[in-house]
Symmetry: C2
Subunit: 404 residues, 2 copies
């Protein structure tokens, strides 16, 4: 079997844990499997590098940020290769470049465009474990790029696809994907199997066990992904195609996300091209817009547009809005950081009517006001007050009997 | 003017010092010069990485050591490029690979074989400062190599040669090259100009202001090198061809080296091939042998061979000697760690007779016993007792009136 394993920062946070990872890899290797391991930077390394950077420049060139941050993973791969060597397992480390991970030009948020893993394949074929740096790639210029938050997951899944691996195991500090955040809902249940689409929704919705882009990659290339803990041997959660799932529920899980700002642009002229101009401007600055709602404004011939963004993008968004509001001759804008998003996700939702209504009922029973609603075929999301989010998640989890 | 500047680890030890380096570079840039900067890892970074490594493996594969250590310089170049950007100087960082620094295959002690600095040239031509990682290169496989202790000096000189730079400035934590170690000889004088050959001898003899290999490179490619401090604006020491030196003294400086072990192999059969077998065995284990002396032994048909090595190599050397002494049917061996080497260096020595005698006289007047002597055209070295080294250096410095 050819296995790609990915170990996150907490799994390689110190030399002891790196040795622990080496022992886990060794078990697979000694059982006769071929193993490629993707690792993140050790524990707090990335934060330490960001602190150093902060002392030098508040707004450094993105190319140099990638040059800096990519060293974190390079340290990890070298140390893990050494740890494997130390227990008698032949291993070789590979930077993103050496593993043939090519990306676009967007520094700090690059997308993988192609993988040419010749050297990794040669390494595996020669009976060695390949240890590959997560989170990093190289663009056409030969410059180092990084894939953004959680990018090592994407590296692992993309590498698994390129190597045609039998499975991609994502080791993390949680046991798998739960029906809700166990820190908020004590009787949340671990989900044994989940479809790519459901996982994608959950990941996008703040259940950040996996980076959404990595799930998308897994779906596109049909990579079977097993999310599990590096601290125990429990079975985790397996991502696969919906048709291959053993059992399909109506609602699979409840997600919540506090990293939300609600923006309102009001008094926008009711004419074609307005939404286009607003959101293309935001997109040009790489700002991810999540929910979008347009409604008739209070005055005739005017509309109100609401949307949500992540908190990190607020300053930039405000800067853009100051300008766009003038250009569009809108009356103004507001923003609210004290909101959160709760969502239900389930592939079965399409065929069961009344699922959304049941969610709204749960919120109503808790006397929680819904500020925005957005739905997709397998998801319903509501924006509510941030301080109501824990009550909301528990009420919804109970309403759909997810702990059974 | 095209300037290559190199800043060592102590010059970039923390964000404040990196900003200081940026300001120095900015002065050159704003004066209209083109500047390529080579930097080492920040202060203790390399030691910290070695400590991490020590917790994982006592004897890791050299390829992985290079993968690990090369991150130190990568952090420095990113931060310096950011610091330059912050004060309005356009700059771009380059890893060894990106700067086109190719080396042989010998991990941890690689030699530069070729430099193809197309990207660095393009960067300089576009009006930016190029910030290049010292100490690292890439071999034919695309694997990262490192150049060994002091390798950033070699990077700087080799890059200056490849770029046909007007001058290569090596910034360090001392003011330049002195007639003797100022910590030992209070009235030691800074040498204004020195020939490559003299510097090479001084560097090899323990005056470790520059890595010998970098001096050799400078000599071969006739790169004018200016060694100076990054903490002040004093003129340092300029390395150039002997014919271009303003003034040639008989003796240029006195060097000393406490990193010496004297080895004696005695009762060696007086027959051909003995020295060859002994020293080829040591060379095969990468042990640098410095002085070698062979003399007739006490018994007929036997010789004694003495030589010196660095203290780090003692354990390995003893291991080899145990074996070689048997094979050669020698009577045995001894070693003495309590020795040091004092040397005088001067290009004028060749044409002035009696220079060595004057050195011996200085030692005799201090009642210091000479254990071994070795001479070259521009150098005389003596092995003496370690505890006499400070008296010896002062006496010789005075005898040759080097403070004038």
């Amino acid at each position: 079997m050819l296995v790609v394993q990915k170990y996150g920062g907490s799994s390689v946070a110190n030399p002891e844990r790196i040795k622990n990872v080496a022992r886990r890899v060794a078990e697979y290797y000694r059982a006769g499997h071929r193993v490629a391991v993707v690792v993140s930077a050790m524990g707090d390394t990335t934060d330490e590098l960001l602190d150093l950077m902060g002392e030098i420049s508040p707004n450094p060139p993105a190319r140099e940020v990638d040059m800096l941050l990519s060293t974190g993973e390079q340290v990890s791969i070298a140390l893990l290769a050494m740890a494997l060597h130390e227990i008698g397992i032949p291993a070789q480390s590979f930077t993103g470049l050496q593993a043939g991970i090519y990306t676009d030009e967007v520094h700090t948020k690059a997308r993988i465009t192609e993988i040419n893993p010749e050297r990794v394949i040669a390494c595996l074929n020669s009976g060695k474990v390949a240890v590959v740096a997560g989170f990093q790639g190289v663009n056409q210029e030969g410059d180092i790029t990084t894939l953004g938050r959680g990018g090592s997951d994407t590296t692992a899944v993309a590498l698994a696809a390129a190597l045609k691996a039998d499975i991609c195991e994502i080791y993390t500090d949680v046991d798998g994907v739960y029906t809700a955040d166990p820190r908020i809902v004590p009787d949340a249940r671990k989900i044994k199997e989940i479809s790519y689409e459901e996982m994608l929704e959950l990941a996008s919705l703040g259940a950040v066990v996996l980076q959404p882009r990595s799930v998308d990659f897994a779906r596109n290339y049909k990579v079977e992904v097993h999310v599990r803990s590096s601290f125990n041997y429990n079975e985790g959660t397996v991502l696969k195609e919906e048709k291959d799932l053993e059992k399909k529920g109506v609602v699979t899980g409840v997600a919540h996300d506090k990293n939300v700002v609600k923006i309102g642009v009001f008094g926008v002229p009711d004419q074609p091209g307005v939404a286009y101009r607003l959101f293309s401007e935001l997109a040009a600055h790489n700002i991810n817009v999540d929910m979008i709602i347009q409604s008739a404004g209070k005055e005739e011939g005017q509309n109100d547009i609401s949307f949500t963004i992540g908190k990190n993008d607020l300053a930039k968004t405000v800067e853009i809005l100051e300008d766009v509001v003038k250009k569009l001759s809108a009356r103004g804008y507001t923003y609210d950081e004290k909101v959160a998003k709760v969502s239900i996700v389930g592939a079965g939702m399409v065929t069961y009517p009344g699922v959304a209504a049941k969610m709204f009922e749960a919120l109503y029973e808790e006397n929680i006001n819904i500020q925005m609603i957005s739905t997709s075929e397998i998801k319903v999301s509501c924006i509510i007050a941030e301080d109501a989010v824990e009550r909301a998640v528990n009420a919804i989890h109970k309403k759909f009997e997810l702990s059974n």
